[in-house]
Subunit: 350 residues, 2 copies
Amino acid sequence: MSEQQNTKSKMVGKQSLMFQNPPIILASASIAGKKESEGPLGTLFDEIEEDPLLGKKTWEEAESELMRKAALKVLEKAGLASRDIRYLIGGDLLGQLIATSFGIGELEIPLLGIYGACSTMGEAMTLGSILVEGGFADRILAITSSHFAGAEKQFRTPLDYGNQRPYSASWTVTGSGAVIIADSSFAPKGNEAQIIIKGVTIGKIVDYGLKDSMNMGAAMAPAAFETIKQNFEDFGVDPSYYDKIITGDLGYVGKQILIDLLKEKNFDISANHMDCGIEIFDQDNQDTHAGGSGCGCSAITFSSYILKQLREGTWKRVLFMPTGALLSQVSFNEGNSVPGIAHAVIVERR
Amino acid sequence: MSEQQNTKSKMVGKQSLMFQNPPIILASASIAGKKESEGPLGTLFDEIEEDPLLGKKTWEEAESELMRKAALKVLEKAGLASRDIRYLIGGDLLGQLIATSFGIGELEIPLLGIYGACSTMGEAMTLGSILVEGGFADRILAITSSHFAGAEKQFRTPLDYGNQRPYSASWTVTGSGAVIIADSSFAPKGNEAQIIIKGVTIGKIVDYGLKDSMNMGAAMAPAAFETIKQNFEDFGVDPSYYDKIITGDLGYVGKQILIDLLKEKNFDISANHMDCGIEIFDQDNQDTHAGGSGCGCSAITFSSYILKQLREGTWKRVLFMPTGALLSQVSFNEGNSVPGIAHAVIVERR
């Protein structure tokens, strides 16, 4: 590879990458909980788990099981065995990624564990695309999960305490979403539309000093703002370049902050912005307050609804940007802020 | 990039990668605690922190400060500013990577957060090399940290409890190590030897069912065994290919298990094996029992001692393999095992 290719072709602007040979999304799978199945996207998930414990003894084991099932499902849908996957890139919200470690161990796929809070699916798809496009892997499995009860226990208070939830609080999605990212040579032959990953914008940590663990939307919105703005600058585009600009889980509070922050920079995304946390639940009837959140929220929304819209041609190009609040019970209890991060992936129908 | 390159050249065997245009290690830095400075490698670290709190109020903030200092030091040694680094790849042992989030935020470098327990430096260098070699970045900063007091609080019991430590227990290193991985075109001109990253072997989760949080060496040894064996198979080499085979922090207990497991497969690494956890402390005089451990252990040993031996030509080629025990206080308290993982990096003097 020549020096020119190294320094000019793939790196775009300050934080973005444009792929020369864009990888494709070969298959996707989504496993969701009961509450998610009762929401607006309920009919689109591959499998619904009625039992929040999935037959296990702990919330953490239940989340591992969600991830295990999502990984097996996406392999099944792609007609592949685990040995056909070169590397698995995944993560979850729990300390030391225990949902992932215990969920995907039996697959025996070499693992790159990642953590970006609820932005993790964006990071997994980013790294997956990089590995495939650079010739480091033929097929990558990218996966994340979250579980409402496990997340409340980890980050706030166990459900048994009956803690009250303010309207700014989001509802962590119980679910796991997975995609297989592959070299374009693996595209099925025929006239079927291909879904490609065209480029990415890797986010920075952005910390406006917010300290409220019950308002993740406000903590993440500044990071979402910075990554979207950088995406526009790096690629020289404006909001109209995308049919949809899709954030992970800003919810109703964060969505408005994001739109306002971008308006100050003369970018108006109000017409084509969508948030997975808003789409996944029915705010009026599901008592989910600010909306859905968690690693699983954007992952199952992408694996079901968003990919469906792209496959059917309703949308041609979207900016998919899972958003993460780097919340930890330890730093929170020590009085620290909640920094945010967001990674954006350009997904296109071809 | 042709299809042939994509599928044949870089992917080697089942789990490994061989780089066509190997990236170089441009600079390294190590910040270590007082106890580490009193060990056999004490004179090699760039900076010593006498105060275990580094002037902060909590162990977690102290660890963030270690990481901040290591990042600034490696930039200073390379003569670079943070804007010269395309992406930062880093992680630590704490839940939700808070040492990293709060440590490197002010640098404003786009972040890919990773978690692989004490194997994290191997994962960071692996991904950093991939991004540079594939033309996705010109310069990457790879960094990890750990802190003895923070790790005891997170994983076992706070120091104030005066818990007794069995001889199989390791001592988490207080320190942060960082390297800058760059495209070979950035190599300083002249006769100086270059240190290159030639290839990697990405590890799987390996779980032999061990449940003792006071015996991390035994939990990690099977993962180390699997990755080394795979490295030999994928590259078609035997132990003599490397001047040193360097594990992260198996300690005295894990080292013997690893050597025994490999002997059963007819690989004898006893003559050229070295473990960072054994090198970093003086077992007889420092009361560190099985040896050093933690994300920082292999990172500061690599950034100081190992790179020095390569630069001076004492060694020409090493297999550097940080080893991780995927321990979490939650899964541990729920009675689960401690799975292991290990990622290997081939580092060569050229």
